[in-house]
């Protein structure tokens, strides 16, 4: 909305009586539900009608982090108490969410009172999130007695509680349960037919989870860190979970291959499977007919993965460069394949690709056995080749590829990507070269030349890899002897992380790389991530005049200065804009217009 429009309306609507006040209350409630608590609370002052709508609004969301800048914890808790007292009587609460950061986990009657209020008003969704100001302190808030048994609750989310007294049997309607960073519960027993979603995360002291007679659809477990990258032991017994479609288990040292075969292989409805940091898991066999997504990450001793399920669409493997046999020949419908630190050879990848006609997205990271890779695929749309340490050469034929990303060394042998619509993103590593040496610039020139046909080329300059924007700026003497590598590139984008000091030398350097550029964008996340851009238009005539002879006479390809007719600038700082105007004004021989 432009700044002007509302003002015009201001005058015309003055004469009219109430406009949105006479909307039905449920619509005002819908509007309130789309606002933050702060925006919603402000509507109470608009008129009596709005105040009434607010006090009967069935969603109560009290989040200290929204208030943090304005008031202290104690004031916030007073506000919680007072605002609940002001509510209209006899209104059931649909959702109640309370997030507080506490200095002490001692019982506070304002917190207990708020929870009681929600329960007395038949809350359906209860989300209580109590954080201690010191994150690392294992301190928990004692579950108030009103929470021992709640008839109305369908969704219960607890964070930061001591759950010694929790008994799920006392929540007859519960459909979704989430326990995060809680303690005091040794044994969680789920035999409640209503429960559909269960999430248990970082609950210290939890020794056992027993699930039986359940209709659970989604179960997600994350173990509690016990220091040094280890997790506490927790035995999970999902004896009877036939309706499970989503299963995610992270950090569970008790999980073994036998356990997996016993429980997971039998889940006939399973669609999504995530296993992460299960350090005793040696092999995995996945026959589940409906499974579509499989992610297996950082399982230290995993030596074999075999997926015989035929409907898998996405497979992500995160290895630790240990040998692990991966058998996915049955997954002919695979669309997304991502391998991190996988101990696979190029031939394995090439064979897989020839058998996966539907593959659209491929990502190979830290695959340290790939030396030369030849990929040919008709459907592939996105391909990322990242930090594969011994890679020397890659030849990719993929006519439908639209995105290619490469991170790693500047390769000596070709990295050829054959596709007419390509957008390529490069983050290169100088390896053993000194980035200011002629040898480096020669290598870099040849390497960039492999991407001369791209529709859009993105170059990343990352200081933590010693890649300051200067690594792209070829020295003047080399510019006379080398051919510009990106003569055909029309659109270039440079991403830098450190604040740019010398815009002119960067722009000058990039215009040498790519002398017929139409757009150049510079994204500087060091100065807030803004994107500034330059657009160029060139004169067609190429009749050389005397002035042309004074510039780059020894070069085969004439530099950008001879043809540039028009420059438009967007989003540059005032000082950069002035410098660029001066620079183009001085350098371009046939410049007619500069737009800012």
């Amino acid at each position: 909305m432009s700044a002007m429009r509302p003002r015009k309306k201001l005058e015309s609507s003055m004469v009219k009586e109430t406009i949105i006040s006479d909307l039905p209350e449920h619509i005002i409630h819908n509007v309130l539900s789309l606002l933050s608590t702060k925006d919603a609370a402000r509507t109470t002052v608009l008129s009596k009608r709005f105040r009434l709508a607010w006090t009967s609004f069935p969603i109560i969301d009290l989040d200290f982090t929204e208030f943090r800048n304005n008031i202290a914890i104690d004031q916030f808790l007073d506000f919680v108490r007072d605002s609940l007292q002001r509510r209209a009587p006899n209104i059931c609460v649909e959702k109640f969410r309370l997030l507080v950061v506490l200095r002490s986990m001692e019982a506070d009657n304002r917190i207990d009172g708020a929870i009681s209020y929600a329960i007395e008003h038949k809350v359906k969704e209860l989300d209580l999130h109590l954080l201690h100001t010191n994150n690392f302190n294992d301190l928990y808030y004692k579950l108030p007695s009103v929470l021992f048994s709640v008839d109305s609750v369908k969704v219960l989310k607890l964070k930061g509680f001591n759950l010694e007294t929790l008994d799920l049997e006392k929540f007859p309607l519960i459909e979704e349960l989430s326990l995060i960073s809680c303690a005091g519960l040794n044994n969680l027993r789920v035999s409640n037919g209503q429960l559909k979603i269960l999430e248990v995360k970082s609950c210290g002291g939890l020794l056992q989870i027993d699930i039986s007679k359940s209709n659970l659809r989604s179960f997600s477990f994350t173990g509690k860190h016990s220091g040094g990258g280890e997790y506490e032991n927790c035995q999970i017994n999902p004896a009877d979970c036939h309706s499970l479609t989503n299963l995610a288990i992270r950090g569970a040292p008790k999980i073994t291959s036998e356990w997996f075969d016993n429980y997971v292989s039998k889940l006939t409805l399973l669609e999504n499977l995530i296993l992460s940091e299960c350090k005793r898991l040696k092999k995995i066999y996945i026959p589940n007919p409906e499974v579509k997504v499989v992610e297996i990450k950082r399982c230290a001793v995993l030596g074999k993965i075999e997926i015989v399920a035929q409907n898998v669409q996405s497979f992500v493997y995160f290895g630790q460069s240990r040998p692990c046999q991966i058998k996915i020949t049955a997954c002919r419908l695979l669309r997304n394949l991502q391998l991190y630190g996988a101990n696979v050879e190029a031939r394995w990848i090439e064979e897989r690709l020839s058998q996966l006609p539907l593959l659209e997205s491929l990502r190979l990271c830290y695959c340290d056995m790939l030396r030369t890779l030849e990929v040919s695929h008709e459907q592939l749309k996105s391909f990322q080749l990242i930090n594969c340490s011994i890679l020397e050469k890659a030849v990719i034929y993929a006519p439908n590829l639209i995105y290619f990303r490469y991170e790693g060394k500047v390769l000596k042998s070709p990295l050829s990507v054959d596709s007419p619509h390509l957008e390529a993103e490069l983050t290169v590593d100088s390896g053993r070269y000194i980035t200011s040496s002629d040898e480096w610039y020669n290598k870099l020139r040849n390497f960039l030349g492999y991407f001369d046909h791209c529709k859009l080329l993105i170059l990343n300059c990352i200081p933590r890899r010693n890649l300051y924007p200067t690594f792209l700026i070829f020295p003047e003497d080399l510019r006379d002897t080398l051919l510009p590598p990106l003569f055909d590139v029309k659109h270039l984008k440079v991403k830098i992380e450190a604040q740019l000091k010398d815009i002119i030398s960067l722009v000058d350097g990039l215009l040498w790389l790519s002398p017929l550029l139409e757009t150049m964008s510079i994204i500087d996340s060091g100065s807030g991530g803004g994107e500034s851009s330059l657009k160029f238009q060139y004169a067609k005539s190429s009749v050389m005049e005397e002035m042309d002879l004074t510039c780059c006479h020894s070069r085969i390809i004439k530099c950008w200065r001879h043809h540039l007719k028009k420059v438009s600038m967007e989003n540059f700082s005032e000082s950069d804009r002035m410098r660029l105007m001066d620079y183009f004004g001085r350098k371009a021989m046939r410049l007619e217009t500069i737009e800012t």
Binding site: K16, S21, N30, T37, T43, L46, S47, I71, D82
Partner: protein
Amino acid sequence: MSKLGQAKRIIFLKTADGQLFEVDEPVAMEFEIVKSFFDENEDAADDTVVPLPNVSAEPLAGIIEFCKAHVEFRANGAAGKDEVKKFNAEYIKEKSNEQLKELILAANYLNIKEMLDFLTETIANRLKNKSVEYVRAFFGIENDFTPQEEEAVRKEYEWAFEGVDED
């Protein structure tokens, strides 16, 4: 019934101010109230006129325009894509608050969930981060508090009045 033929079925709707609208069946069936009318009267003749005593012609025309576009988006598999957002933004741009209110009341009566969600979201976006004075003036809301009452309410929610946009 015309279901057998290829011809598109037309639904006739009559507004409170007596205007007759001819609407393609899939568009009219977006209105829950029309749909249930035909569900309840299965043997209704093809030329049955559905009376809509709570809606006048102007908002109904606007609603038909919106639903027609969205039925087409769904048929083309464009639902949720940028062109839908673009259409929605264009659609709402020229609507005054009075028109917006009329559309909401009509969409509420006709029970069109998708449109109602979109319209309430529009109102919410017009309220975000705005001062009370701005919202009152923008939506023409009459302040019926006495100054003392208003002061008291403001005090209750003091924290909510900081950091809003300048009017």
